[in-house]
Assembly symmetry: C2
Homo-oligomer: 324 residues x 2
């Protein structure tokens, strides 16, 4: 029989529910604005109702529900613990809430980086890999680890926080409060900060024009746009961020010896501008024997990544036995 | 029936064979000097003969053979590929050699850091842990990863090379050729080098007396001895090495979220002098949520570690089914 999977993605801006199949096709989806100020009770009420209605419209029953959300959360208890993008969500029993609506099927919750890692591994850039590290380089730098052909979660669901390894012990303070994290050196906001700070010594760069004339308004997007036009200053900024990312990836290669590293967000949109310096640094910083078996590639799922991430969690909750 | 396991440890100075049981007791052992200049043919001939004689003296048959050796090696093909301590061992088919002598039982080969990780996990400091990182801080810094209750080897047997993550991008050159590796900052020889270099600014320290009056002769052992006597200079050197090790362990905690980190060699002999600064740094550099579930402890197997490492590989080769 054809198994249908319900994926629920909870974000700070919008929430979505999607019905998909084990082959990664999406059959139907619904979306709603999160409106985080309305609080977890109201949001989860609207969200479970939306999911229920979507499931009711499907041509067959749902086999499992997967919920993808920013961490920290607890996959054992199914509780969400105050993700930064959802203020007030303290100990929200999201799994129980969905189990009430879908009492006959497995329901699983997973942090969004792990969920996206699973989705890229099942249907995207990671198909066929036994050992894969997924790393998203956007507002923050998060990650997920597929080791020996399955998701590795760690002791309390915190494995894969590759963005918070120390790259420069005396580097800038990170959003997480620690000093010199990879995220503080190579995330989108960090690239923008690097550009703004470096501008003190380089007035009049093309980058400032692109940002509308005000250095304080520079974002990573502007840096990428200027670099694409050939602006040497912006190219150097991306190269510097790529060097930091390369050190972080080399560390991952030394510790985990993966065959594949899948990079989301910035590498997808600006891989041509950043991957060369990433790979150059990895070649300097990782052992040839380990680097020679590893590829670094951009993520492939694009706009479908978030829906498929949640659906991948539903698929994982069924397990291989449930598909037979 | 009582299963007997044969463990073979191949080192640069000596080789040993030991017969042990699944509960970690050692029943008998033989040892021989390696004499590396005699080359792999002669050494493996003596070694297989010694192992055969030892096995013949056992009161019952051998159920499996485990071989522990310095990497690089290939666990799939069973070949040793020129470990630094065994010059001339290029593509030595060590597994086949032992399969000829023990044709009816499984034979497995593993690098010594992974093997010791398995042994500490089965019989030493790691008993009961689901996610454990073993790290040895001696001449070099190597490691082994037990993740989700089993040894994680990586794509080509290079996982766990935690000593070759970059800690200081502009730090000293490591024995491996890369710059600023953890090993280049916190191994035994690195501690000695740190002390010698720092002495340029501090003549007459107690450490120099302990080393026999010649700064060039200082070893990590001298630094530990002087620190134990209360020498502030030597204590500061160990604290600095502990800080670097702490950064490396914090990175491991962020990436792998283990519940246990087992430290061999220096932490066993001088844990009182180094672990405080290690833990202080980890508390600063790792997330509270991940650090709160992780313990850092010295290894427990002591002198038996190398024999039990090889025996653990034999046990792993049998698998749970073979023990019933």
């Amino acid at each position: 029989m054809h198994v249908r999977l319900l994926g629920v993605d909870i974000g700070g801006t919008k929430c979505a529910a999607a019905i998909g199949c084990p082959d990664g096709t999406i059959e139907a989806r619904s979306e709603m604005p999160t409106e985080p100020h309305t609080g977890p009770d109201a949001i989860t009420r609207r969200l479970t109702l939306m999911a229920k209605n979507l499931a009711a419209s499907a041509p067959g029953p749902i086999g499992a529900v997967g919920i993808s959300c920013g961490g920290p959360l607890d996959t054992q208890t199914g509780m969400i613990h105050s993700p930064p993008n959802l203020p007030g969500w303290e100990a929200v029993p999201i799994r129980s809430m969905f189990e009430e609506v879908f009492p006959d099927v497995p329901v699983a919750v997973e942090n969004d980086a792990n969920a996206t890692a699973l989705a890229e591994w099942r249907w995207g850039a990671g198909v066929g890999a036994r050992n894969m590290v997924y790393l998203t380089q956007g507002t923050g730098i998060g990650g997920g680890l597929i080791l020996d052909g399955r998701l590795y979660r760690g002791t309390n669901d915190l494995a894969g926080e590759v963005g918070h390894q120390t790259i420069l012990p005396e580097g800038p303070i990170c959003a997480c409060g620690k000093r010199g994290c990879l995220e503080a050196l190579a995330s989108g906001p960090s690239i923008a900060r690097l550009a703004r700070e470096s501008l003190h010594y380089r007035r009049g760069a093309r980058l400032v024009e692109i940002a509308g004339g005000t250095p304080a308004d520079i974002t990573a997007k502007h840096v990428i746009e200027a670099a694409r036009e050939g602006d040497p200053f912006s190219k150097a900024i991306l190269e510097e961020a790529g060097t930091y990312l390369g050190i972080g990836l080399a560390n991952i290669i030394q510790i985990l010896n993966p065959e594949l590293i899948v990079l989301g967000t910035i590498a997808v949109h600006a891989g041509d501008l950043i991957l060369e310096s990433v790979r150059k640094t990895v070649a300097e910083r990782a052992w040839e024997r380990a680097w020679s078996v590893c590829r670094i590639v951009p993520a492939q799922l694009g706009d479908r990544a978030q829906d498929l991430a949640a659906i991948a969690i539903a698929l994982d909750a069924i397990g291989p036995a449930g598909l037979s």
